[in-house]
Amino acid sequence: MSDHTENQENYWKANVRLIFGCLIVWALVSYGFGILLRPMLAGIEVGGTDLGFWFAQQGSIISFIGLVFFYAWRMNALDKEFGLEE
């Protein structure tokens, strides 16, 4: 079990990179668009209010679902690519 190969190392790096990318989007849609950047998005109107409000109450949740499924799909593919699937 301790034969720590280059293949495994690359797999783990790819995983960490993927997580990093996903978490940037995660933070952007919630803390960014939903909270901190809301004043900047105030000009964009959505159904009687602004885009920031939409992200805070709906957009972030929809993005989270997309992110989790995207991660599952990519990682399960990476498992196979690196021959590390269960």
Partner: protein, 588 residues
């Protein structure tokens, strides 16, 4: 048929279903008791996780919180869903690969220390016990309102039901009951919301109705709502908040806390493979989102409905006379959750924001103070009555509220009893216990956990609202960082992990106790709980995220100053990172 009979029928039918499942899904081994045999389909586990997660707070209180706070309380929506992104990417797949039964199991093995395991057990028990009190009281309230029994009797009925399927079936029984409970609660939540959305916006999907036109006025719904509440001195519903730092930290604390709650994490131990754990997190979020996308619509529509009920001619005209109030106000007045006091003696109901800024206008209109207080928890429960829906919808809401409370209570009780039987008894006190003995111990500890939860539900310690914050704070500051470092770092050793957990836990407790009272005893708080006193404007409820940062920092510094992690533990970290390999999936 009377409303009472209808409610009894709905609640009785749902309970009969849970009993049926309990008898069908008895657990025969510890593996079945702790992780449902490890063979739950990922979609089904997603559904069970959604019911496990969505408590009485989500079902009953959340829409009311958003209705009262508007945009500012979007924090609950983002915080209670965003945690699943963290769980799916940072914890669930690796802990599934580890393949044991409890959260302290992993912490004990990874940090090769009995102390670390015991600290994790302590954090788990404090977080879960505080959380379960809220569920039991929620069930008690639902019983007393809908089945017209005394609150304590209601609680005992709830305890007996949970006892039956949780003790007999363990995780196996809980899983299948939670799937049934999810179906009951989502149908119950959605149906009244669809009707209200149709009435107000002609749109049958509430989540879309929220951003649609208000049919009666021709204005967008949210603009109409802003206008109405503004006329009565309230803050605009969509108004931005000033203290963004606190909003960010509160959301972050809820997210990290969600990802660190043991009863949610152990649900991912029940799926067959690592790949399934990843999919399952996505499905859990889909099923949660079905309620969480509807909740903000329910919130704004119910708030507007309430306002137009009191001011049928518009907020600038006369409000309704008390004698002409609708039936649902009378019903809820009997429970004391709606209160009316005719302060200016005009026989009408004045409902407005009684603040100095609005005082001049109020005096000009002949008002002598706000006359109506509405408990925000009744919003969802009263929805069918406000929208004039038939009696069976009210029965459905009763069954749904109970399903939400019981499913979460059962999940928490399992997390507590497995920590006692597996981590304390087998892990520390008597490692040679037989499989049969451990299964019995698990059932006995479940029994005592239910007794304690019921007792605390009957005699709530007077801080029911704060305890949920405590549970999230502890999960965020102690459990989540330890788990994450255990997977993503090979450098963090046992000293670092133990001191990190203790630092995160203690700093969070001290900050919460400073403002909310030492051990929550009223009047013992060191500083008044007002925004002016908060350190950098951070509320005690938002401190979990900072506690987590303290935990990370202490663990890294201490680990770098002390010994390297032993090779076999480094190998363990390697093995949880890769789905393939013989290192994981050990059955004891």
């Amino acid at each position: 048929m009377s409303q009472f009979t209808i409610n009894l029928l709905f609640v009785g039918a749902s309970f009969a279903l849970y009993f049926g499942i309990a008898i069908w899904a008895r657990a025969g081994s510890t593996k079945e008791f702790y992780v449902a045999g490890g063979g739950v389909h990922p979609v089904m586990n997603g559904m069970a996780t959604a019911a496990d997660w969505m408590s009485a707070a989500s079902f009953i209180s959340m829409a009311g919180l958003i209705a009262a706070g508007g945009y500012a309380n979007s924090t609950f929506l983002m915080g209670w869903t965003g945690g699943y992104v963290l769980l799916a990417m940072l914890l669930a797949p690796y802990l599934r690969k580890f393949g044991k039964f409890t959260v302290p199991d992993f912490i004990g093995d990874r940090f090769y220390s009995r102390t670390a395991r015991l600290v994790a057990v302590a954090c788990l028990i404090i977080a879960s016990v505080t959380y379960v009190i809220g569920q039991m009281t929620g069930a008690g309230v639902a019983f007393s309102r809908f089945l017209e029994v005394d609150k304590d009797t209601g609680l005992i009925i709830a305890a007996v039901v949970v006892f039956f399927y949780a003790v007999l079936g363990g995780m196996k029984g809980i899983t299948y009951t939670q799937v049934a409970q999810y179906c009951v609660l989502i149908v119950a939540y959605t149906i009244p919301a669809v009707f209200i959305s149709l009435q107000l916006t002609d749109t049958f999907i509430p989540a879309i109705g929220l951003f649609s036109e208000h049919t009666q006025s021709g204005m967008p719904l949210l603009q109409k709502l802003d206008e109405v509440v503004r006329e009565l001195g309230f803050r605009d519903y969509t108004a931005d908040v000033d203290n963004k730092l606190n909003m960010v930290l509160f959301t972050l604390s809820l997210m990290i806390g969600t990802a660190g709650l043991p009863h949610v994490i152990i649900r991912f131990f029940t799926v067959p493979k690592v790949a399934d754990a990843r999919w399952s997190a996505g499905w859990a979020l889909v099923f949660i989102a079905l309620l969480y996308l509807t909740a903000p619509a329910v919130a704004s529509m119910a708030r507007l409905n309430l306002m137009t009920t009191i001011y049928p001619e518009g907020p600038t005209e006369n409000s309704i006379a008390y004698d002409e109030r609708p039936d649902w106000i009378q019903t809820w007045e009997q429970t004391g959750l709606i209160k009316y006091e005719d302060k200016n003696g005009d026989g009408r109901i004045q409902f407005y924001n009684d603040t100095p800024a609005f005082a001049e206008e109020a005096t000009a209109r002949g008002w002598a103070g706000n006359e109506l207080t509405v408990n925000r928890d009744i919003l969802v429960l009263a929805n069918p009555e406000i929208a004039n829906l038939p009696g069976w919808v009210i029965g459905l809401i009763a069954a749904g509220g109970l399903a939400a409370a019981l499913s979460t209570a059962a999940g928490l009780l399992l997390a507590i009893s497995s920590a006692v039987s597996h981590d304390l008894i087998k892990g520390s006190i008597n490692p040679d216990i037989t499989e049969k003995g451990e299964l019995l111990a698990a059932r006995v500890s479940m029994f005592f956990a239910i007794i304690i939860a019921t007792y605390l539900g009957m005699n709530p310690p007077g801080f029911a609202a704060q305890v949920v914050a405590l549970a999230f704070g502890i999960a965020a500051a102690s459990i989540f960082p330890a788990l994450m470092m255990g997977i993503f770092s090979k450098r963090v050793n046992s000293k670092g992990a133990v001191l990190g957990m203790l630092a995160g836990l203690c700093s969070t407790l001290v900050y919460i106790f400073t403002y909310l009272g030492w051990f929550f005893i009223p009047g013992t708080n060191t500083l008044a709980n007002t925004p002016d006193n908060w350190l950098f404007g951070v509320s005690p409820l938002s401190f979990g995220a900072i506690g987590a940062v303290i935990n990370f920092a202490v663990a890294f510094i201490v680990s770098n100053m002390t010994e390297e992690v032993p090779q076999d533990v480094q190998d363990l970290v390697e093995s949880v990172r890769y789905p393939k390999g013989a290192g994981g999936a050990v059955d004891h």
